[in-house]
């Protein structure tokens, strides 16, 4: 089964993760712009980070036969450094209009401060101007209210719910999200957010419409194989195959496709220029990459 992880911070992950993801069927990933675990202090750090999302990381992913896309945005935590946030918002349009940028995100609230609110709203306007979907990061704390508020503000700014992906949902937030016509994404993340057994039950209850599974794997305790593992668990526990395919592959294309930057043909039948640029020397195409299991059992590094 082909899979997409539509929220994963690959910059924080190793090449072993890329290999394992590819072996598990992941064909495309979306890396949302986020913070890096500690606050940045200069504009240059943001600029180089954004450039790496459309440059080095895209190239790195291609070496493992995975198409890499990203979203551009200023996250809510760093929105609280108001002087720096203003500078970042100045350069953001330049990066947001690059090839392979499928949404403005991940944006929204952390502590739900006035500074976060201001930066969130400015970026919703940017999304409208560039005709890009929006990926919402819902807060860890005061989640239910923060999620509802994020959706209210999107409506207030005239965005269509069908162009907004609300991420990090749980059992308490999903109903309102779906009832109001938004996309409901779920992050399968150990300890916090969702576990995949709970995810199976969410799909059993709500079906496949507008539900998306992702890993949000990053530099924390997280699992880059969360999507493949959840897809497998769903099948084992009797979720119909079409629902697994929709929530772990097809819905991401429907949600981010309207950007014009996320097309199935990119990975099924890539343009010849992409093949020359991205897959040159790619061992995947030569079919000689040893499986991870083999390397571990043999214990050889050559």
């Amino acid at each position: 089964m082909k899979l997409i992880d539509p929220h994963v911070h690959m910059s924080a992950r190793t090449t072993d993760d890329y290999e394992a993801m590819r072996d598990a069927g992941v064909v495309a990933v979306i890396e949302p712009a986020f913070w890096v675990g500690q606050p940045r202090t200069t504009l240059g750090s943001f600029q180089d980070y954004y450039a790496s999302l459309i440059g080095w990381e895209r190239f790195r992913a291609a070496q493992f036969g995975i198409r890499h896309y990203c979203t551009m945005g200023l996250n809510s935590k760093e929105a609280n450094n108001e002087a720096l946030a203003a500078e970042v918002l100045e350069i953001l349009p330049l990066f947001a209009s690059k090839d392979g940028v499928v949404a403005i995100g991940e944006i929204g609230y952390d502590d739900q401060t006035p500074a976060e609110d201001k930066v969130f709203r400015k970026q919703l306007e940017l999304a409208k101007e560039l005709k890009l979907p929006v990926m919402i990061h819902t807060p860890h704390r005061d989640k239910k209210r923060g999620t509802a508020r994020s959706m209210d503000v999107c409506i207030e700014h005239g965005l269509k719910p069908s162009s907004v992906i609300v991420d990090h949902n749980n059992e308490e937030t999903v109903k309102e999200c779906l009832d109001r016509g938004f996309w409901a994404a779920f992050t399968i993340y150990p300890k916090t957010k969702m576990g995949n057994e709970r995810m199976v039950e969410v799909v059993r209850t709500y079906g496949k419409e507008r539900i998306i599974v992702d890993s949000s794997a990053d530099w924390g305790v997280s699992d880059p194989l969360a999507v493949p593992k959840t897809a497998r668990l769903m099948l084992e526990r009797g979720i119909p195959k079409d629902q697994v395919e929709a929530t772990c592959y097809g819905n991401a294309i429907l949600a981010y496709g309207p950007s014009g930057q996320f097309n199935e043909s990119d990975w099924l039948t890539p343009a010849s220029i992409d093949q020359r640029m991205l897959f040159e020397g790619n061992s995947v195409l030569r079919g000689q990459q040893p499986k991870i299991e083999d390397r571990v059992t043999k214990g050889l590094i050559s």
Binding site: Q47, Y50, A51, I54, G55, W56, R58, F59, I91, P93, L94, F95, S97, K98, D99, G100, G260, Q261, A271, S272, I273, D274, R276, M277, L278, E280, G281
Partner: protein
């Protein structure tokens, strides 16, 4: 080499292949950037949107196109270019270049915010840009890249490296090409710039690979030979014989 001749040639290819709406968009963009002056946000955004507006099909080049390219800019070979790369090159050539330092600053900004595809287009276009003598640091930067596609855009089918690099930088270029499995045969000027220091570096590299029981890049022998002196040639031949005895 004249920018006017290069621009005219690019325009003739674009007239032939670009769809009407894309051609209109490009015309409008160029007119607007003339009005607004260089380095404006409009030009930067147009540069980003090029792939979507113009498509990413391969540029069609016949033999007379190749001759015309070589006449407009010696050793320039546009085979393997895509349509969006031609358009991006056309946009870059529209940046006013009368003030070299101002022009270079704009170019640096364009590079700093470029994605992978844009970097490839920019580096590939280096031999067509004005102020070639100012570009040595940029060439070196491209060759330092860990993105093979970017390295290749400078190193392969591109005459600028052999024209602008110092001998040390040139030798590193050849050695790195072998390291990253890029086809040395497609490096322009390799024969002309062959030298004894490079030959020794390549012989040492072949020895290292042989000792590690790793395959030796097939292009290495031909890359080393032209620069060899008599003693190095003996070493090289011996190494090649031993290596081919192990790896068929």
């Amino acid at each position: 080499m004249s920018t006017t001749a290069i621009t005219a040639l690019l325009d003739s290819w674009l007239n032939r292949q670009l769809a009407d709406d894309a051609a209109a968009w490009l015309r409008e963009t160029l007119q607007r950037s003339e009005l607004d002056g260089a380095g404006t946000r409009a030009l930067f955004i147009a540069f980003s949107l090029t792939g979507r507006r113009c498509g990413r099909v391969d540029l069609l080049v016949n033999d007379s196109d190749k001759k015309a390219a070589d006449a407009a800019r010696p050793l320039w070979n546009p085979s393997g270019w895509s349509l969006d790369q031609v358009v991006r090159t056309r946009l870059v050539l529209a940046i006013p270049a009368t003030e070299p330092r101002v022009w270079l600053t704009i170019m640096d900004q364009l590079f700093a915010a470029a994605g992978l595809e844009e970097l490839v287009a920019l580096y590939q276009a280096l031999p067509l840009l004005p102020h070639q003598a100012l570009l040595a640091p940029r060439i070196a930067e491209g060759l330092r890249s860990n993105m093979t596609a970017v390295f290749n855009a400078v190193a392969l089918n591109n005459p600028i490296a052999s024209e602008q690099l110092t001998i040390d930088a040139w030798n590193q270029l050849i050695l790195k090409a072998l390291f990253v499995n890029s086809p040395v045969k497609r490096i322009v000027g390799a024969e002309r710039r062959a030298n004894g220091v490079l030959a020794q570096m390549l012989i040492d590299y072949a020895r290292e690979r042989y000792a590690a029981k790793r395959p030796i890049p097939v292009d290495l022998w031909d890359a080393a030979r032209p620069g060899c002196d008599a003693r190095q040639r003996v070493d090289l031949d011996q190494l090649q014989a031993s290596a081919s005895a192990v790896t068929p």
